[in-house]
Symmetry: D3
Subunit: 247 residues, 6 copies
């Protein structure tokens, strides 16, 4: 099985780290590759950013299916372009947030999502609404660390993540924690252990791992999204500069 | 007051008809202009179509604000790019669906939306969810007329719209009808009269008219969307062909 | 267009101030008049108060339609008698709260309502439930100033309103503020500016202005409430002292 | 214990029948009395009718508490004036609909309400919303018999009630039936037996009986409504003709 | 009328106290008896505990119906085995929580439940969800007193219950309090008086009393649960040690 | 990895078939074993049946963890004893319904569940409520074939399943089908192909496969349920015949 990760930005330097995050939970015989956008922006933090990367994601998704891969993951907690890509593709398409939030709802009563920026809180809340899981959301909490400092001092970032998670448990009643920042990929067990040391017996889930396992499962069962919900659309004339757009 | 209508397609032949639809309910001193996309596709009937027009809509929206207009309306019942445009602009931005559905919720117990294609039904249902009005939705019903025949035989299209509306009232319990097809713009009174003749005392609302009046009201009261929900985002490097993209 | 404001109390001294509040956002050619109840009580702060003013409001509403006005606004944030008046009238009838809350839901993620008395909080919460907008409510907060002191020291009242609004934003996550006290009519911009100075970029909405603009819009589009939801009722014998009651 | 039934109309001829309906399930030592309005209308079938009877109900309710009765029931499935009477009284006040719908929700998965007129369906649906029980509502169905014929041919009325109930079970999935027409008071067992003969093992509940038993229970436990939800309101000047109004 | 209380544990020493709690609100001619399980565990504080007592409760319930009693109450705020017992019996079966929560929803806007252990909070929240009353729940709060100390120092337990109730009113907005700990049975009036002294005019409800009155009411009206929701199941082979199990 | 399937009945003849159903989607190196109850009943079709098998399931679950297996699946679409087993175990415990319904919610807008008996419909609806997925449920539909005939004529059973699925799509708007009858395990692709031939492009999901893949994923990621939601309970005295019960 070959899974294509789409890095939904133009920042190629993230490729290796992303690939490693998704590979972490992959089956031994799962092949994974990553591709970056030619057009778009450097990171995704707003509706505007989503708008300028979606066409590029669709182009990469169609390209992936044409190349014969078995499934596609879009590497961003906002699950960008997943619905539109499903109209264009027959193979499974997932982002990390939707399967992680559904798993969280299965493993405990309420979950909290950690995000980097306060300005993303409303976007994540609306995403939870869209997935129909609002009753199960304890809170969306922001780390409030400037993005540029996140990687500089990974120890401090982790410490803040643990503090914010502890508050989510104590004050918001979270039973499950979703570290929804790329910088925390692969750190779920570490955060869970630290919370356990403080007496909080909660489950902490790693979104890239859940995405990989969900896509492997869906693909290996021969399943995909319902074409009744995401019907294939007839080709249509379009005018677009430069990039070969999916029709 | 100057309102800019953005035709979110590359089909310039619709400009006059659209402008007339939005002008219908405008105050005498409201100036209205329309602009069409340079890049995108010919009509909007899928998530894919939305994806390829949103960047162009944003470009037109930023251009409109730069030119000093007072408000922007995106002319499509899917309200495309409204949330992302609100991050980029300070002036009010609306599509026709959101204010029309809220008004419908105020004028009666349940509303039904008429759409052209069966494949749009799920998209409109999810839109109603997103606006938080699901409890007030009676049904989304499709006219099931091939798009190309809609304008060819306007009499037949109207007759079908009346039949489908009557079923929405009788079978789904609709109290208010929203004719959500562009081809029915300006026909609300006519449909309401025909339904009244059949004994159905329901209200039929014209979405372009509601959009114009809502935008006029919001603008004249000196209001706009909350920047706390739609914060202005810092400029960001992007790579994009041809078109001057909003940053 | 002639809009009749119904002051739903027996306190005639409020007439000029109310009329000014509703006129603020009116179109130049909109005629506005106000009428006060003959029977009822001096102010509306409870279910009991509503009970004793509703018959009088209905009498005034029927009188207004008989005199040929085009629409009716009942001047109270509890929207008293709106549903029953709609059964009796064919012309549009609105209170200020319903259109203001729907507009707030369109302009931001969550809204807070300011009210004068703590004992009104539960009534406003139930009103939001009734309009189906509970998911969008951040909070209902009371100014906790004795009514008699509200007008005495308008500067202090404004200051308190700004403080309470700031708490609604910080602690309850409000994106939009609705000053639901009559004494704050026309002060929305001022409060919004003060909140902006403190770093809260929220939208503040003036309910009387929204009511006027909504009624103007609905009337000018030739719309009214659905008679299927609010059917005209057959005349009926009634026994009632003094006042000519609507049948 | 003395329970006062308030007949919320001016139709004195209904007194004996109503009193008998509420007495049916009363404890042997419960005293019951009935009072009819001096001012109001002949029957309750609309928001307008509610408006003109509420002041009279409040007057009768205050009078009842002053006379030392232990509890008050307002005899109408629309539960008119219950909330406002609770502000004025310390003793329990109930209508038949609220406790019957809550009991229905305890005895089965979904309930249907039978009503007389199609024009009452929306009012009953909104009432179920207000009580927070919408998820448990299978349907509101109307008998569609002209009111004047209801009593004329009681056999036919019963037959229609049984037919409509059977449809509610088969087509709407009702597990519990609430005969919400005064004319069906005391017929619950009969309807249940007839449905059972047709193979529908559902429970049919008599609203006046439930109201009596609930009020007896609440009163004998020394309980009443929460004054935090229904605070006593300060007396207030009012102007009202003829009738001594509650202050 | 004869009501059988089932003590859903193997702790016989609780029998007299339980019987007294349920008798408190019973009609003079209501006979009450209690029975304890032969197999099970000593108290109910977890899903596991429920699992091991349910077969024994069913055996006692079938035995009760066979002995000719008129109704059954299972004495535990988790309402254990109520749904499965309803399949086996034709007579009414209730636990104390469901009717108490529905009554609380009728007497005020929001209710809070007091429980003994923090680990029961999530179980009670899910119970409220199951009864469809989440919108009306203010909070579930735990006394946080070790179970063994509850009865030792009843004065302290009461004091803590009053403190926790006061917080539920102030901080969570509760209008009605449900003391959901067995140790507080019969203390509702006392707690209500203490809260009233502190200025909190809320209603406090005694669950065993409500259970008794509800079961008396349902039984005396000749009602029971809907067999469409709880169909009688065909007998079935089973293998079970020792105890004669219900088939 | 070793997954233990618990057959929650005393019917040993189902063991091989069940094991094969769960093995179908297992990774090559996943070991699977099955165990049957010593005490309980022959099949699960009611709340009563659940009551008499849960203690036996718990005993088998504790035994499985003691033997060192990595995860437990309870083989029944009612997910019996999953919550109570999670209190007793640290390793993951799942039934097939919960992960299948969550996956269905990810793959399309609305899902329908096929069940064998009409009397199970209400139980499955309440299960969907409990998982918080009611908005995404199109319908629960019963095959209405006597259980004993299900296996006798597998061709006819399949044909009926396809017919009922087609109705769920056409009449209830299902986008995803969950064949929730054990007899249809492993037939998802076949049903999907047959529906596709009739023009219904929906996704059909095999619950045992989803259960296996979910449990493999959760286990391999080192995750389990949140002990905050399912706390380990202190050992407790119990009295129980024959079988060594979990403490």
């Amino acid at each position: 099985m070959h899974i294509r990760i789409i890095n939904p930005t133009i920042t190629t330097s993230w490729e290796q780290e992303s690939l490693d995050a998704y590979r972490l939970a992959a089956a031994p015989d799962t092949e994974m590759s990553i591709t970056t956008l030619e057009q778009g922006t450097v990171s995704l933090e707003s509706h505007r950013d989503l708008a300028v990367v979606i066409p590029g994601i669709l182009a990469r998704a169609v390209e992936a299916q044409d190349e014969g891969v078995d499934a596609v993951i879009v590497d961003c907690m906002l699950d960008p372009a997943v619905r539109s890509a499903r109209e264009l593709l027959d193979i499974p398409v997932f982002g990390p947030a939707e399967p992680t939030m559904h798993l969280a709802a299965m493993l405990g009563n309420r979950f909290s999502v950690l995000t980097v920026l306060g300005s993303l809180v409303a976007m994540v809340e609306q995403q939870v609404d869209r997935y129909g899981l609002s009753r199960r959301l304890a809170s969306v909490r922001s780390l409030e660390i400037p993005v540029m400092e996140l990687d500089d001092d990974m120890d401090r970032t982790l410490l803040v993540a643990i503090e914010v998670s502890a508050s989510a448990v104590k004050d918001d009643g979270a039973d499950v924690i979703i570290p929804g920042c790329t910088c925390l990929a692969g750190k779920a067990r570490l955060i869970q252990a630290a919370l356990s040391d403080r007496g909080f017996d909660v489950t902490v889930i790693d979104p890239p791992s859940v995405a990989t396992r969900t896509v492997e499962a869906v693909t290996s069962m021969g399943l995909s999204h319902s074409k009744r919900t995401y019907p294939s659309r007839a080709p249509k004339p379009y005018r677009w500069p430069g990039l070969l757009l999916p029709t």
